[in-house]
């Protein structure tokens, strides 16, 4: 565990019934850096992120946030200390408009740059609409606007690029970089490997219930086991073809 970490989930274990998902998984979020948490479907990325966010109780392990150690972290507590957790599924309440969501955030955290978030994610025309009337991409943009407006010290984003068109992915990648430039520690998951590797400073590979720090994106791309087991042979052949 690095001392520079804003958030660390250390040696986390979690089972659901007889199915062990995490054995000794660890995760770090460092100030001003973006960490991509990558791994196959069902490998436990979401479970680890939920535990780190205080949204799921681990069987064992420790969460440390801003130097405070939590055997049983709680999201509401961590949120008040500066964490924002963007879940995999919808964050928005179905009967409230986008404007009401942003207003609630501004009430809870006075000074939140709501207007900046609205402009950044082109939400002006969507402010009075409720989530069921939004497309998947529009919903995701509204959720990310909440995260941006919160100006968290640490953002745990589960599949931030999900449902987004290529242009919106660039928008989200830019906003993540902007947040990191302001000092936010970010951990992002997903299967949008191109975007995640492009935007990240560090790569954490999750497999067999544990995590492996691979270094930077260039190191990850050069890691044969990661390439072969996660990216797959087709991508590997494509990479060789492009190189040659």
């Amino acid at each position: 565990m690095s001392d520079a970490s804003v958030l660390a989930a250390d040696s986390i274990g979690k089972s659901f019934g007889r199915r062990t998902v995490l054995t000794a998984a660890s995760l770090w979020a460092r100030s001003g850096r973006i960490t991509a948490l990558l791994g196959r479907n069902g490998c436990g990325k979401t479970t680890l992120l939920r535990i780190a966010a205080g949204w799921l109780r681990p069987d064992y392990g420790l969460v440390v946030f801003h130097g405070r150690r939590f055997l049983r972290a709680r999201l509401a507590t961590l949120a008040r200390l500066g964490l924002f957790y963007l879940p995999e599924r919808s964050l928005l309440h179905t009967t409230r408009t986008v404007r009401q969501h942003l207003a609630a955030l501004a009430r809870s955290f006075p000074g939140a740059p709501v207007d900046e978030a609205v402009a950044m994610f082109h939400l002006a025309d969507l402010l009075d609409r409720k989530p069921p009337t939004l497309s998947g991409g529009e919903r995701r943009r509204a959720e990310l606007a909440l995260a941006l407006a919160r100006r968290p010290d640490c953002l745990l984003a589960d599949e931030p690029f999900r449902d987004l068109a290529p242009h919106d992915r660039e928008l989200v990648a830019g906003s993540l970089r902007g947040m990191a430039a302001r000092g936010t520690a970010i951990v992002a998951t997903g299967h949008e490997v191109v975007e995640l590797l492009d935007v990240s400073d560090e790569v954490l590979w999750m497999t067999a219930g544990t995590t492996h720090p691979l270094g930077g994106p260039a190191d990850a791309r050069a890691n044969f086991a990661f390439m072969q087991e996660y990216l797959g042979a087709t991508i590997l052949r494509e990479a060789w073809r492009v190189q040659s």
Binding site: A76, Y85, A104
Partner: protein, 68 residues
């Protein structure tokens, strides 16, 4: 099982309220919904969320309205 049923039959209305509350709190983890993730991100204390999660949807909707 019979012993448990016998005890439940003896419960007064406040006793039932306690049982329902405890059952709701115990079910909290399983019933977490997107609404409560949002409220937790706003820093709403955990026990508020537990109460909200234990309530019927119509009552929960009213409470969510108060928070958002």
């Amino acid at each position: 099982m019979r012993g448990l049923l016998a005890v439940l039959k003896l419960l007064t209305p406040p006793g039932w309220a306690v049982v329902v509350l405890v059952a709701g709190l115990a079910a909290h983890d399983a019933r977490r919904r997107s609404e409560t993730v949002l409220l937790a991100n706003l820093g709403i204390p955990e026990w508020h969320l537990a109460l909200i999660a234990a309530l019927p949807p119509a009552v929960m909707e009213t409470l969510i309205g108060l928070f958002t």
